[in-house]
């Protein structure tokens, strides 16, 4: 046997642990019954932790006990939400407030509590799930009788049926279970002292019954055993991962689930059995022809049972098959099941012909262990397990029976002229035809009626003596008998065939619907068109209003767009955020009018599909299954559309970028070439100024100045175009900022005239990660800006200092300074200094500082301007300051 640790499984355990960490941990204070001190223990622990953690009381039921109440001192309490339910004010836990407040740990008493109608979730444990999902740790309390898997046992032990249950999976997945246990005698004493809270208005006799010593003992045993099982389960996970495979792993149990509440008991039984022996188990629902005949209630119960099994940790499987025993055995063998659990229901005597399913399974299940559980009608709740009612064969509208009679009458009328011409036996075949017709059209019940009334009709009209129920010929005994038997057989076969045909048609319709939807979706473009296709295809088929919400950049857009009431849009939001189904027919926001399904693809919620039925029907689990298929189809179509959009967008972007680059390159070429020529022509001419008249020299000097200005403007314009088009590609390299400053100072040498540029480096400056050429441009622009705002004898100071992970560069001048409120405007495009609006101004294209801002921002830095503190009441110039990111890898000293 391979005993090497399986690294994948260990990893799965570890990642499951990590998921749990991110998810918030759940600690359950678990006890055998009320009064053992769970709430007390929870509060006591919270008191111990309160100095280190942000603890919030979500709900605490202290039932007026002073010692418990005292323990809430010093813990902040979340105000309860007041819900108005049909004029009655109910107080409930405020989930949204808790999520918004986001404490580290929240205390939620009474895990199994059922929320007031109109709350988001019907059950408190679902609220807790949502809290955990958002990373909040939760402490809660739970009594053993509220656990789903032991629910029926408790009921049989104590006679009290507990309706508030918590799925076992939640219990098993809790991070921590603290078992709070006190001896039964002590509990009884506390009860006698009035220290145990018994629900108001609760049936006191039931309570007395519940708190009997024998019961308490049973409950304690259950609680202890369930806790132990959980510890076992965790050990098993670990030992399985470590390679200590237990023999149990080769065993598998299959439980057969039907449309009755007895199945729920089968499921609980199997869960206990499988749980104790640590065996994986599967709940199977066999869809035979009968499934189509089940009424709505029975179908709902099937879904209910399957969901119950799922919650208790079973795998759920549905298979189709005509012959129950064969189908079940084939499935069980093929999938390696070792044991099948089947219920044996006491059938009414008229149905006791033939063998029961369990008998057939025992006979044919070669090598399978068949466990049969007999229905037990002792407990009232189980007795209520109304057997599933079949809609057909017999329960069809009364009018169908009338039609059956009418057809028999019609056959009689049609045969009447032939009486005496042909042998009466041939006319018997006429009636058979009538029965087939009835069976095909109206099903087995009316066919039975037609068969039965055909005999007297035949006798009355076609056998001698006519118009009496007598006959002379003895062979008519046989004729009647054959006629009845044949018509019954033919009638039932035909009815069954036509039922099959109907089922086939229905599943074909479903397939057709999905196929049409897929084709329709793939043939259109755009969300609106998709929503249109979806509502056209689904709306009429499902008799429901269909609507699509597409989420983009965290906002939801509805198609078609029409107002929805606040409750519905709340449901849509919730579905979109949580990626889970909600609304009518589900556990979340069940009072919403519509059903909302997330459109998920690759774990992302792309949108929400909303279905609002035109009538008042609720959706069943089977409906929801179909809807989920539809939702996944729409989701994949949406994803395709989004991908196509993205590809198209990036294609256009690339094209645009190419075009822009070509445009910029040719523009810069076309503008610069003539400028170069003109510039050099003028300077060549100016070199010969001695030969030229004075006016010509003046004009040429003016021309030269204007050309310099034009040149600068063109350069800036092209730079600005590159920056604003967002196509500025930064070539980040590490630099010593002093190098860039030195290069910039050298470059402005010809323009600075008599101005002085001083530098000051404060402390050790780390390398900065920048595009050297662009930062040089920033410095050039700032220096040129300083030149325009200082006199020819001005002093400009460039200083650098290090500030944590930034390097700050400051260029200050001693000019006239900024006007109030101008500090931000100057970085706007085409903003020029008010005073500079004269034609003679050598600079002021209004782009220099905007370019600076563009470049610095592209580096993730900041740039701003401010006036220097005034000296002796006079303006002391302005400072322009920008920050640059420090290179992460400083390559320290080598």
């Amino acid at each position: 046997m391979n005993t090497r640790p399986d690294p994948d499984k260990l990893l799965a355990l570890v990642t499951a642990d990590e998921g749990r960490l991110a998810r918030g941990s759940l600690k359950i204070f678990f006890g055998s019954s009320a009064g053992v001190g769970k709430t007390y223990a929870m509060l006591a622990e919270a008191q111990r932790l309160k100095d280190d953690r942000d603890i919030l009381i979500g709900v605490i039921e202290h039932h007026g006990r002073a010692e418990t109440k005292a323990l809430t001192e010093g813990l902040p309490v979340l105000p309860l939400l007041e819900i108005d339910h049909r004029g009655v004010k109910v107080h409930e836990f405020d989930l949204d407030a808790a999520l918004a407040r986001k404490p580290a740990l929240i205390l939620m008493d009474e895990f199994a509590h059922t929320n007031a109608p109109g709350s988001r979730h019907p059950k408190r444990w679902q609220d807790v799930e949502e809290l955990l999902d958002s990373g909040i740790d939760v402490y809660t309390t739970l009594n053993v009788q509220h656990l789903e898997s032991v629910n029926d046992q408790v009921a049989r032990l104590t006679g009290v049926w507990v309706r508030e249950t918590v799925p076992d999976s939640v219990f098993d997945e809790a991070t921590d279970i603290a078992l709070i246990d006190i001896p039964s005698d002590e509990l009884l004493k506390r009860l006698a002292d009035g220290k145990v809270y018994v629900a108001e208005g609760a049936n006191t006799r039931a309570a007395e019954n519940f708190f009997k010593k024998t019961n308490l003992g049973h409950l304690r045993e259950l609680a202890l055993r369930r806790t132990a099982e959980r510890v076992d389960a965790q050990n098993d996970q670990l030992s399985a991962a470590l390679g200590h495979n237990e023999a149990a792993l080769s065993e598998k149990v299959l439980v057969l689930v039907g449309p009755d509440s007895f199945s729920a008991r089968l499921i609980r039984h199997t869960r206990r059995m499988a749980g104790r022996a640590k065996i994986p188990w599967t709940a199977l629902y066999l869809q035979t022809d009968r499934h189509e005949l089940l009424d709505q209630k029975a179908r709902l119960r099937v879904e209910h049972n399957l969901r119950l099994a799922e919650r208790m940790g079973a795998q759920v499987v549905r298979i189709n098959g005509a012959h129950a025993a064969t189908a079940i055995i084939t499935y069980a063998m093929a999938n390696g099941f070792t044991r099948v659990v089947v219920g044996n229901r006491k059938a009414p005597f008229w149905q006791r012909w033939g063998k029961s399913l369990s008998q057939k399974l025992i006979e044919r299940g070669d090598g399978l262990e068949i466990t049969t559980l007999s229905a037990d009608y002792a407990t009232s709740e189980i007795a209520e397990s109304s057997r599933p009612r079949l809609t057909t064969p017999l329960i069809v509208p009364l009018v169908s029976y009338a039609y059956a009679a009418l057809i028999v009458a019609g056959v009689t009328a049609a045969g009447y002229p032939l009486r005496g011409i042909t042998d009466p036996d041939n006319l018997a075949l006429f009636y058979l035809t009538g029965v087939v017709l009835v069976a095909a059209r109206f099903g087995i019940g009316p066919a039975l009626l037609a068969s039965v009334i055909s005999i007297p009709a035949f006798n009355f009209f076609f056998t001698v003596p006519y118009y009496t129920f007598n006959f002379y010929d003895a062979h008519y005994y046989f004729t009647f008998a054959f006629m009845l038997v044949t018509s019954l057989i033919v009638g039932s076969l035909t009815a069954r065939l036509s039922l099959h045909a109907r089922i086939a048609r229905k599943s074909e319709r479903e397939t057709r619907l999905l196929y049409d939807l897929t084709r329709g979706l793939s043939s259109v473009r755009g969300y609106a068109a998709m929503a249109d296709v979806a509502s056209r295809h689904l709306g009429s088929a499902l008799n429901a209003g269909v609507r699509l919400w597409v989420s983009e950049d965290k906002t939801l857009t509805a198609f078609p767009d029409a107002p929805v009431d606040i409750k519905e849009s709340g449901a849509v939001q919730w579905v979109s955020i949580n990626g889970q189904i909600a609304g009518r027919g589900t556990d979340t926001l069940p009072s919403a009018r519509g059903l909302y399904l997330p459109l998920m693809a690759e774990n992302k919620t792309l949108g929400v599909l909303g279905l609002t039925p035109q009538d008042d029907r609720t959706f069943t689990g089977a409906d929801i299954l179909v809807f989920e298929t539809i939702a996944s189809l729409i989701a994949s179509a949406l994803q395709r559309a989004q991908r196509a959009d993205e590809a198209e967008k990036s294609r256009i972007d690339t094209e645009n970028e190419k075009l822009r680059n070509v445009l910029l390159a040719s523009l810069s070429h076309d503008l610069r070439t003539p400028l170069t020529v003109m510039n050099n022509s003028v300077s060549t001419l100016l070199k010969q100024r001695k030969k030229l008249p004075r006016e010509a020299v003046d004009e040429l000097t003016g021309l030269w100045g204007q050309m310099q200005r034009l040149q600068k403007f063109v350069t800036n314009l092209l730079k600005m175009a590159a920056i604003t088009s967002g196509q500025l590609k930064l070539n980040f390299e590490p630099y010593l900022i002093q190098e860039i400053i030195g290069a910039a100072i050298a470059r402005v040498e010809p323009q600075k005239e008599r101005r002085q540029i001083r530098t000051q480096i404060n402390g050790r400056i780390p390398l900065v990660m920048i595009d050297g050429a662009l930062i040089e441009q920033v410095l050039l622009n700032l220096l040129e800006n300083a030149f325009t705002h200082t006199t020819a004898n001005g002093v400009i100071m460039i200083s650098v200092e290090n500030d944590a992970d930034r390097v700050r560069v400051r260029v200050s001048d001693d000019g006239e300074g900024l006007k109030p409120g101008e500090e931000d405007q100057i970085f706007e495009k085409f903003h020029t200094h008010q005073a500079e609006k004269s034609d003679r101004a050598p600079s002021g294209t209004g782009l220099g500082l905007a370019i600076c801002r563009g470049i610095v921002q592209a580096h993730g830095g900041m740039i701003y301007a401010k006036n220097n503190p005034a000296k002796e009441g006079k303006a002391a110039g302005a400072s322009f300051i920008f920050t640059l990111p420090v290179a992460k890898d400083q390559a320290k000293e080598l």
Binding site: P674, L675, E739, A743, A746
Partner: protein, 227 residues
């Protein structure tokens, strides 16, 4: 004998003014309108320097540089309206000696031509074993560096950096070129080291990066030793 300069440029007006400028400064201008014509004149007339416009009608200037460098070491000065630093770096890495962005002043072009010619002469004479500029002398054969008469002690890497710069004095060397010359082929990503060593070298040469005496920073491109 005057140096001959081959102008490869498709703009007539630019050619005209370059011709005038070169004539006025004692050079012999040769002209070509296309890359093809330029190549023919380069083979037939052996100019001393090429002035090349990157935007030629029949071939991309970058390709032209690569083609020429396969068989000729003639100095190439690129003149282009393309202002992207990436274009400059590419041209230099392909083997161009210098790069001027339009619009440029005639004086600047002449200065670059002179540097290029000096560099070419040094290579041809097989000499170039010494570098002398503003008090800094480097004797490449003796591996000796003196500053204002005093010996400067450099680490091997600092010396290598300085000697590479000195051999190409006046010419811009790209970061990639320097990294490859000093550390070999596979270290072109380690710009950090180049900065740090340059900084140390500057400290020893009393060369303030804010007002460099010897080593000029060409932001976005590389370094150049004054010549």
């Amino acid at each position: 004998m005057t140096a001959s300069i081959l102008i490869i440029e498709d703009e007539t007006e630019i050619r005209r003014f370059l011709r005038a400028t070169l004539n006025a400064n004692g050079f012999t201008p040769l002209e070509a309108e296309t890359a093809h014509e330029g190549l023919q004149k380069l083979i037939a007339q052996r100019p001393d320097v090429i002035i090349l416009d990157l935007g030629l009608p029949d071939q991309d200037g970058q390709d032209f540089i690569r083609d020429v460098r396969e068989w000729s070491q003639v100095p190439i000065i690129v003149v282009s309206a393309r202002e992207q630093e990436a274009d400059k770096v590419l041209a230099l890495e392909n083997g161009a000696d210098d790069y001027l962005t339009k619009p440029f002043a005639a004086g600047e072009l002449l200065a670059r031509i002179k540097v290029a010619l000096r560099h070419a002469q040094r290579l041809e004479s097989g000499g170039g074993h010494t570098y002398d500029y503003d008090g800094l002398s480097i004797d490449l054969s003796a591996r000796r560096v003196t500053l204002d008469g005093g010996d400067v002690h450099l680490t091997p890497i600092e010396y290598k950096l300085l000697s590479v710069l000195a051999r190409n004095a006046g010419k811009v060397l790209t970061h990639a070129y320097l990294l490859k010359a000093i550390w070999g082929r596979h270290s072109t990503e380690q710009n950090h080291y180049l900065r740090i060593h340059t900084q140390h070298l500057r400290e020893k040469l009393v060369d303030d990066p804010l007002a460099p005496r010897f080593i000029i920073t060409e932001p976005g491109i590389g370094y150049r030793l004054k010549a």
